[in-house]
Subunit: 308 residues, 2 copies
């Protein structure tokens, strides 16, 4: 048995909403602790995998303290290349792994190919785009503000970044994909997915990772260009990171190496203020307020745990 | 140079319409001969691959006579297991090959899995469903009339066949897929594709072959359940038979063996009446008038060619 204090909590998966029926996880019930992964400092432990003072990562939910059984957490030793505890939730965590699995195993971008990433400033998209760059692709990011687009190009090395809220976005998008799209990493669904279908090249790979534009829609929009899947021989592959646990080791090794070589810039967006800001953080996640992995700082990690 | 008389003409591919821009084939221009494959009897030949009296298959378009260069036709010797000339257009032709490629290379049905085929009474669907049965799957066909459904079950061995025009089709479809869908072979798109997304099992394979319900729609319908691709980790793969020429030999060998063993019943729907019925045949194809591969008998193959 391990007792921990939560340092950072991830407000929610940016994947499928937890209220969906027949989703890959059961919905969160009214009255239950909201689901979320966190990085924790161990206060006391009977586990062989962690001792007091260690950092671990686990699905604690939104909480300040958690008691977890053996097997319900990952010790920091599972994270090769870990530099600081919160890497366990961002670049080496679920969203970084999601980017790696989707881009490496499904997208498979080749040098010179055109890769489009939507939700490109998000926790997953920002890593996915950088992985495509490492593979020599030309990367076009789509995000929701001029500021995010600036960061994608200037800090993260995207070739082009487009703000989908711009009035001339559609024309700019065509101009940015003159040789059509080889790989589309979809985090948003909806109209942008539909545009990418229209611009898909023969044998394009569509990495279906998320559809945040549709999660809260009562009448989700289907892509009217779906027939392109046939005419362009598109492979559209959905995936969930949990299905690929056997690849986590290799993925974390590559990701941490890329971080250490400066090829991947870590992108986190930390909300200070403790658990009381988590709820608003979740609301803001759907508004696209964050650039990079959105984390709530439940407790300052530098603070002496004995003070608690 | 080879001179032939066309015996059977295929009114059109049941795949993507030929008027689409940026399709896998250029659109047919006004005034051009309508595109179509045919089986022909050679009248005279300078080719080493065929002599007078032989049967060949080629993309002649809708015509009674054609002059074709070497390489623009396939001699009957390319078709292992050929029993009669029109097999070259049906079970061993493009639609049979399409069924084989889609089901064998993308669908990969396993024993006990549930396979759904739409357009199941069509040239491709009827073969696709039978291939799934050969692989030990439970096969549910969807077609557009009670008569077609009866044939699918009684003659072709489908486990269940449902008429999508029935008022209680949706309920029947749910009842027919109690363990959800492992493989969906899509020939129709639209609302049926959307229903199959809602009934997809984890890791389902969606073989995207055709979308005939949407071809002539000014406002094609997108599947609002597209998010299932993610939550159910669906692989949705479009394909065009021409990309798989290297597999034709193996496919024809298997198909002809299955036909000879009685495991695949050939399904053809022949319109007599010569080329003048071809235009109406094409119109009727989109109405679903045919069961099996729709062929126009341009000339009775038993008639003496010297009489022409």
């Amino acid at each position: 048995m391990v007792i921990r204090i939560v340092l950072f909590a991830s407000p929610a998966s940016s994947n499928t909403p937890f209220l969906d029926v027949r989703s890959y996880v059961p919905p969160v019930q009214i009255g239950e602790t909201m689901r979320g992964a966190s990085v924790c400092r161990v206060l006391a432990s009977k586990s062989k995998q962690a001792t007091a003072g260690d950092y671990v990562c686990g699905f604690t939910g939104w909480t300040q303290y958690a008691v977890l059984r053996e097997g319900a957490f990952e010790p920091s030793s599972n994270y090769p290349g870990l530099r600081e505890p919160k890497d366990m939730l961002s670049v080496l965590g679920m969203t970084g792994l999601t980017a790696w699995i989707g881009m490496t195993k499904i997208g498979e971008p080749k040098a010179g190919e055109t890769v489009v990433v939507s939700g490109a400033a998000g926790a997953t998209g920002s890593i996915a785009g950088q992985i495509a760059k490492i593979n020599g692709a030309r990367v076009v990011g789509i995000a929701g503000s001029a500021d995010k687009c600036k960061r994608l190009v200037e800090e993260l090395g995207f070739d082009v970044a487009l703000n989908y809220k711009d009035a001339d976005f559609k024309e700019k998008f065509k101009e940015a994909t003159p040789k059509y799209i080889d790989v589309y990493f979809d985090n948003v669904g909806g109209e942008i997915l539909n545009m990418c279908l229209a611009r898909a090249k023969e044998h394009a790979r569509f990495v279906m990772c998320g559809g945040i534009s549709q999660y809260n829609s009562a009448n989700p929009e289907g892509p009217s260009n779906i027939s392109r899947v046939i005419s362009m021989r598109i492979k559209m592959q959905g995936f969930i990171v949990f299905d690929h646990i056997k690849d986590y080791g290799k993925a974390r090794q590559e990701l941490s190496q890329w971080v250490s070589e400066g090829k991947i810039k870590k992108t986190e967006h930390i909300l200070p203020g403790g658990l009381q800001v988590a709820e608003q953080g979740l609301v803001d996640l759907y508004k696209g307020s964050n650039t990079g992995k959105l984390l709530v700082e439940v407790k300052n990690p530098k603070e002496n745990p004995s003070k608690l």
